[in-house]
Amino acid sequence: MSGAFILAWMVLLLPLVSTVLISCFTLKNDKLSARISIGAVLAGFVMSLLIFLSAREAGESNITWISIGNFQATLGVKLDNLSALMLLIVTGVGSLIHWYSQGYMKGDRSYSRYFACLSLFTFSMLGIVLASNFMQMFIFWELVGVSSYLLIGFWYERPAAADASKKAFLTNRIGDFGFILGIIMVWAATGSLNFAELKGVFEANPEILGATAGIVGVLLFCGAVGKSAQFPLHVWLPDAMEGPTPVSALIHAATMVAAGVFMLCRIFFLLSPDALQVIAWTGGITALMAAVIALQQNDIKRILAYSTLSQLGYMVMAVGVHAPGAAMFHLTTHAFFKAMLFLGAGSVIHALHHEQDIWKMGGLKEKMPATYKTFLIGTLALCGVPPLSGFFSKDGILAAAADFRHHGNVFLFAIGVLAAVLTTLYMARLVLVAFHGKHRSEAADHSHESPSVMTGPLWILVIPTLFAGFLPIESAVNHVAGLNHAGDHTQAPLAMAFSVLALLIGGSVAWSLYSKAESDPIANRLHGLSTALKNRLYFDEIFNGLIYVTHEAVSKLAEWIDRILLSSFIVKGLSNVVDVFGRGLRLFQTGSIHTYAFLFVVGIALVMFFVMGGVL
């Protein structure tokens, strides 16, 4: 095993060690817990950097988990450009968020538990990133789900948080259901779970899945739909904002939700054209729908949550149009600036004593200059202002969608541009309303800048937000995904033109609407639509109706059958039959010797008649 693999194993296991240490030994010692957790992830970051920079060859190191017949499941680390990049993102953003949490969570009575959960999450996420096979990916996929459950429900005494965590876990589970069936079908067809082996199998025989290729692709995509919150399983992500804000930044913006996109890039080689069509359209629909909903949200974290949904839709759409490189590129840049935006929002919320309504903020520009500046840079990057990182990565996706001769599609391209206009609109709305204008509440008036432990990570994140756009991520990932062309950029000028146009339109509309607004001007004009948007297009209700109510009804029926039909009717019925029979027989037992003697004689006579009747 070469040095890089030893390092990779250590990166993976350090957070686990940290979780175990904190939860077994240092629950009472808050400072030490934080130090252990931060130490683990920082050390992981340094080692990831070493792995990233070292001249490594792609490969993997495995240990056996279960081996029965041809069911061979292993746990391992797989190193290639894709995983090295993700390692860097997860540990890099993770370190900053761990650090930031020290300030944000100060004084919480479960401070140690928070860091234990955070370490557990980091471990699970690294497990997905380093996974060498489907089984491992599924295992850590589930563990990510549970650590997200623990963190969303961190303040479990608040009913909203407890419900949100439950909802997040269950919604993810629906995606996982498809994912595991897809995995089993791949295994049944090929006899292998290992990505490298599968890649070999698919190169030798691309048709090995036969007629089921499309179904398998869509089932595997279900996993990504759940984890990356794509339509129609996106309902959990906005609710997940009930968790502490650093958690929203780490899990629900930068890393966990990216897992779905990462997985799609990892298994890109076995997705059939049909499946990719489904993926592209799902991504497109999510991008547009979330951007529309974000327009009418008033909670600062929810606006960012819908923005995340929309951006994830972009990435998934990129995978669907055969551009996994562009997807990973956008994932990387998005991880940086979205983490920064969330941490900025956290800083605002912290300063305003947990006020999250943007219409109760206003004028924070002067009160919180550092937060404002970093938040503005993040917003500009998200909107795709050149030459910030978001511009390049978004451009890559639009260029892929505009590649009509290959896998692009004019409708998807239009959706992408429209979503870009809306992105600029809602982000400008957020900045103008929250940071500009007058103070609209007492809390906003008395706010003050957050401590340096919280603004520090913000400034550090500015660096990659500014410069990550120049990294050669796209071609490196395309190479891993098995696409030999290094990203086709013939359509880049077209995409760039539309992207700048979108920016200008969105920006000017937002300025005219919101620069002086005291309340939302478009809410009145849109009437019913605005209400629908505020209620998130009623997706929660529809979803509730479909999944929850049907299950509830079926379970009512089953319980009724169990209680009334089986337990009472059949089981008790049987015992009642025996009982009645016994009561009937008891009538003969009068206790009178005369009756007995008489019956005795009759009996004897009958026996004699039957035994000797033939003789007589």
């Binding site: 988990w65 595991i180 319980e559 059958i561």
Partner: protein, 521 residues
């Protein structure tokens, strides 16, 4: 003398000692009971660790011992362990020790309770190590009788008597139906022996006619099935476990209940394989009843114990699905689920017992925010619930996923249903219980709930969780042992059904390869 004999007779010896002690010496009684389960636990760990190096006796059984008992009928005391039951024996000893630890809360008639409990433990151990069908059955009955008495006398709730009757009738009926099957098997085989090894050899050369096999397997399936709460014969389980004292529920749901499945895998599958094939479809449908139907029933429960009871019935569906797959991967998974579920059921009932002792009710609506009051026990309950809905890292996941993989090829639609039951329905009721009891605003409890005060109280729970985690993270500790023995079962299934199904030949080459591979390890 075999190490297994120690594991079997130490609890019996303990029971004898407890019977001789005065009623008032409660401390001494508990000490004896603890010692007479702790020592077998050590022996079981030792046996488990030395399993791979141990010398194999007749039939491939290790730690083999045979003492003639009734020579006229060829009944022998005969114990041995192979890959299938060594894990069960270890699981049984751990759960027994934990159950004795938890029985601390029994203050009324302590002596009698511990006496019965030790008899039950001895019966459990004997069941899983016997390779003589007579003793296999005898030890099960030996364990069953104390179970009824314990529920009837020390049980809780107003439904206690009803539950005792129901459980007694159901289990006795199941055991009787299984007995008919076993007797038929004895008569039809013509081997005139209860010795499992000899029977197997006899039937390999002269299999029973296909029709007779179908009849025998039917009796065994429903007889054993009733004992394992096969749908629709499951309604005794939630009611019975709800009324049972904690230690009894742990022992029965965790270990004794596995008798039925063990019988199916050990006796029914290899001896009457053609019968098994005839019933395969039925079994697969019934297992849907377990997983989906009982999952839905569990969703509606308001009482924690009933929820756990129904979910444990649902979990049995995985085992039946694994058996219905009739291949190496599926059956190995079924054995793994059996062991994992033993730990899990014991842990869940242990925790619910702890809560009951504190609050005298298990109505979930009356709890709230309990995680704040009892962080340690609450965390364990979250872990138990998570293990129940198949979270990786716990042994249940390893077993369930193996079953799903194994059953896919022959029963894909059933696997789909099972996966839905495991991933979605399981998660719904588990999370709902957590949400109701542990999360949310703290309920006004008078007196407030107490967390486990010292290491002695924590010990049994920690032991069970640690076992779940150990075998969840390193399932190959078990599967490497299981697969070799299951390969033999599968081989005799294939040999027995070859004239019916020729396309299985290809699979059998694979399993033979596997045996060779396992031999090399």
């Amino acid at each position: 003398m075999s190490i297994l004999t120690f594991i079997l007779f130490l609890p019996l010896l303990g029971a004898g000692l407890v019977a001789l002690l005065p009623k008032t010496a409660k401390g001494l009684i508990r000490a004896v009971a603890l010692a007479s389960t702790a020592l077998p636990l050590l022996c079981a760990i030792l046996a488990f660790l030395s399993f791979n190096g141990a010398e194999a006796g007749p039939g491939g059984y290790k730690f083999y011992q045979k003492v003639a008992w009734v020579t006229a009928l060829d009944i022998n005391y005969q114990v041995g362990a192979d890959g299938i039951n060594i894990g069960l024996i270890l699981m049984g000893s751990i759960v027994s020790f934990a159950a004795v630890c938890v029985a601390r809360s029994i203050q009324d008639r302590t002596k009698e309770f511990h006496f019965l409990m030790l008899i039950m433990i001895a019966g459990i151990m004997g069941t899983f190590m016997s390779i003589d069908i007579f003793f296999f059955y005898f030890f099960h009955e030996l364990a069953l009788v104390p179970t009824f008495i314990m529920i009837g006398v020390w049980g809780r709730g107003k439904n206690k008597d009803y539950a005792t009757y129901k459980m007694t009738l159901y289990l006795t009926l199941g055991a009787l139906v299984a007995l008919v099957g076993l007797v038929l098997l004895y008569v039809q085989s013509g081997a005139k022996t209860f010795d499992l090894i000899a029977l197997q050899e006899q039937l390999r050369d002269n299999p029973i006619s296909s029709d007779a096999q179908t009849t025998i397997f039917g009796f065994l399936l429903f007889g054993f099935g009733i004992l394992v709460s096969l749908w629709p014969f499951h309604t005794w389980a939630p009611v019975g476990y709800d009324a049972a004292p904690t230690a009894t529920a742990m022992l029965h749901a965790g270990v004794l209940k596995k008798f039925g499945i063990y019988g199916l895998i050990r006796i029914a599958l290899p001896l009457v394989p053609q019968g098994a094939q005839a019933w395969l479809e039925v079994l697969a449908w019934l297992c849907m009843g377990n997983i989906l139907y009982c999952g839905w029933v569990a969703m509606r429960q308001k009482n924690l114990n009933k929820l756990i009871g129904n979910s444990s019935v649902a979990h049995m569906g995985f085992v039946f699905l694994g058996i219905a797959s009739m291949n190496l991967i599926g059956i190995s998974g079924a054995v793994l689920v059996m062991i994992a579920h033993g730990f899990l059921a014991a842990l869940s009932f242990g925790l619910s017992g702890y809560l009951y002792d504190q609050k005298k009710t298990l109505d979930m609506d009356q709890y709230g925010g309990a995680l704040r009051q009892m962080p340690f026990m609450g965390t364990l309950l979250v872990m138990a619930m998570m293990a129940g809905c198949g979270l990786p890292g716990f042994a249940n996941f390893a077993g369930e996923i193996t079953v799903l993989f194994g059953a896919w090829k022959s029963l894909p639609w059933f696997v789909t249903g099972t996966a839905w039951g495991a991933l979605i329905i399981g998660a719904i009721y588990a999370l709902r219980a957590v949400r109701k009891m542990l999360h949310g605003p703290v309920a006004n409890d008078t007196p407030p709930l107490q967390d486990a005060a010292n290491y002695w109280i924590k010990l049994p729970y920690v032991l069970l969780v640690a076992s779940l985690l150990l075998f969840g993270i390193f399932p190959s500790l078990l599967t490497d042992k299981i697969r070799t023995s299951v390969a033999k079962v599968v081989k005799s299934i294939e040999a027995g059904t070859q004239d019916q199904e020729t396309n299985l030949a290809e699979e059998s080459v694979k399993t033979e390869l596997d045996i060779q591979l396992a031999g090399q390890d």
